[in-house]
């Protein structure tokens, strides 16, 4: 017998107390929990404020701007970080970085991790942002690129289009996401609680996370 047959046979023997007529969906799951914890009819401004507050609470640096201000803001953030090179996903709107001086490095399948390690910053968009938890979610879309480009550089600037990309809660975020895409949920910069169960920011992922809330 294969391992598969052994394990499945053991499971079936173990479940002799489950009536044969019972279908999986016959086991009740009470879903009386909230779809979101913000009041119904909360304005989109309030959601964006909550997102900003929770991002900052976990040490992300939050900035707000509109389309006119975005190129200058991105230029400033890269300058202040001392970045000479910046990773750019293939579908990042070119005007976002039109004022930036840093040399563009493109997201290519052939790049080695060591090459990416030499890049100072990365600028991306996102798929969705969750206000209640201060989370941004990347799904590898054209303005976000491969997962590794937001992982290896030490400085990640993520642009969230508000209010369109902001949802209140985890349940609402999952409704918007496509499970077949590789997903990365990010809540603040890399951190650890491994030393005396106390949170310290800055381990392997980007140690600086800047989130730009872009009003459209």
């Amino acid at each position: 017998m294969s391992g598969r047959d052994v394990v499945l046979a053991r499971i079936r023997r173990a479940l002799t107390d489950v009536p044969r007529s019972e279908a999986p969906d016959d086991v009740p799951v009470p879903r009386s929990y909230e779809r979101a914890h913000v009041p119904d009819g909360e304005t989109s401004d309030a959601l964006v404020d909550l997102l900003a507050e929770n991002l900052a609470d976990y040490r992300a640096l939050v900035h707000r701007t509109d389309a006119d201000g975005l190129p200058t803001l991105l230029r400033r953030l890269l300058l202040e970080h001392g970045s000479e090179t910046v990773l750019v996903p293939p579908g990042l709107p070119t005007w976002w970085l039109e004022s930036a001086d840093a040399t563009r490095v493109h997201d290519r399948a052939a790049s080695t991790p060591a090459e990416l390690d030499a890049v100072d910053s990365v600028v991306t968009g996102c798929a969705v942002a969750i206000a209640e938890t201060g989370t941004i979610v990347l799904d590898g879309g054209p303005d976000q690129g491969r997962r590794r480009i937001t992982l290896i550089p030490d400085h990640h600037v993520c642009v969230v289009r508000v209010p369109d990309q902001v949802v209140a809660s985890v349940p609402r975020a999952l409704e918007r996401l496509d499970p077949t895409r590789p997903l990365t949920w990010i809540s603040g910069p890399s951190a650890t609680s491994d030393i005396e169960l106390d949170r310290v920011e800055g381990v392997h992922g980007p140690r600086t996370l800047e989130v730009v809330l872009l009003t459209e």
Binding site: R13, G134, R147, V200
Partner: protein, 502 residues
Amino acid sequence: MSGRVHLGMPAFPEAAASATRNARLRGNLSHATGTIRAKRAQAVAELSDWDALRAAGAAVKDRTLRHLDHYLERLEEAVTAAGGTVHWAADAAEANRIVTDLVRATGETEVVKVKSMATQEIDLNAALERAGIRAYETDLAELIVQLGDDLPSHILVPAIHRNRGEIRDIFREEMGRWGRPAPKGLTDDPAELAEAARLHLREKFLRAKVGVSGANFMVAETGTLVVVESEGNGRMCLTLPETLISVVGIEKVVPTWQDLEIFLQLLPRSSTAERMNPYTSMWTGTTDSETADGPRVFHLVLLDNGRTDALADTVGRQALRCIRCSACLNVCPVYERAGGHAYGSAYPGPIGAILTPQLRGTASELDASLPYASSLCGACYEVCPVAIDIPQVLVHLRERVVEGGEVTVRGQRTTIRPARGHAAERAAMRAARWAFDHPRALLAGQRLASRTRRLHPRRLPGPGRAWTATRDLPTVPAESFRDWWRRTRNVRGEARGEGGGR
């Protein structure tokens, strides 16, 4: 440098007795668990619907467990359709053999690992080392344990028994033997220690060709795997290597994508007391070559290793709901004093006390002692995000140890004999049952006990001595409750006057 394993450990009482004499260990543990307890309570209080989420989490897990074969077959289909390969391992040896063969097939001699309870449970690192393959742990706490040639003592923070000064010493002395040495002048500042780990591991991440992980959740409907983490070492291991091998317990499957909305709220708040952990990775099989993102080869190893034995026990089954948050460890007065090593397993604390004897059986003295590693205070049940009634299972397993009976071991139904050393307890229970079934005898016995109360010793002789060594023998009242009831009420049960009591 293989790390140690939980073999030949003494029974819990001996191990705990020695641990509780270690003042530094107790200090480290009470500081760390005290810190997280207060934060968890706050993170949970932020959600007004916590009880509803908890009930839903328990129900989803129960649904999954009652139809586990169905969901595993759906999962296998979905993972395969997405380009992954699914393997099934009945026990630790089979899982280790599968992983070793897969790594060998790549021609590589080192792997980077994300923290995984399942691979700790099967002692994968030692199996790989025997095959000439070096496994690097990349979670900060796992790194501390590996460098210190130590054993993990907590589910979430395996090095919880080490304080910052000890961690600095381990880094200074050991990092050089494994790769990049610790920076000169390293202090015990946690931020500096985290930086040292970043520098030490980076070269390993950048050259890694094979990653090994576990998973927190697997979605049957979509074939999606989920890894929840904080540091980014998980993202490194899951995205940079060409080959990814995930070893996951069969109970980690959930039916639908939507079900994640429950667990992604329950887990971070129960575990690290955060609204959301810094990084969560979700992947479904592999991506095609044009937009390739992450490993091109993905293997999923589904692990039984005793889980189906627990599944066969209708009371003990609920232990398989566990999402490994470790909240029960952090509130447990026994864990806080005894530490994780005394439990002799990858799974310490209250959940370990019910999981280990079910996964491994109760044949060894250590495993038979685990259901007793509790005061039954119930704090673990209160905080459990999937409502596992740990005290209920503990009592159930104590009965199994004392009385023996029918259990499933390695998939075979078998009858185990009562454990040795519980003869007095069994005799007392049998006597009690007889007495309660024979009220006249009980009454006579109680009256006799009352009349002779001045003659009772303060310490029991013979096998009862151990019991009274740490407890006072209860004093017998001059009059039994039954006699008092009869005396203060009339025989027909009518209250007598105003002083009749209630």
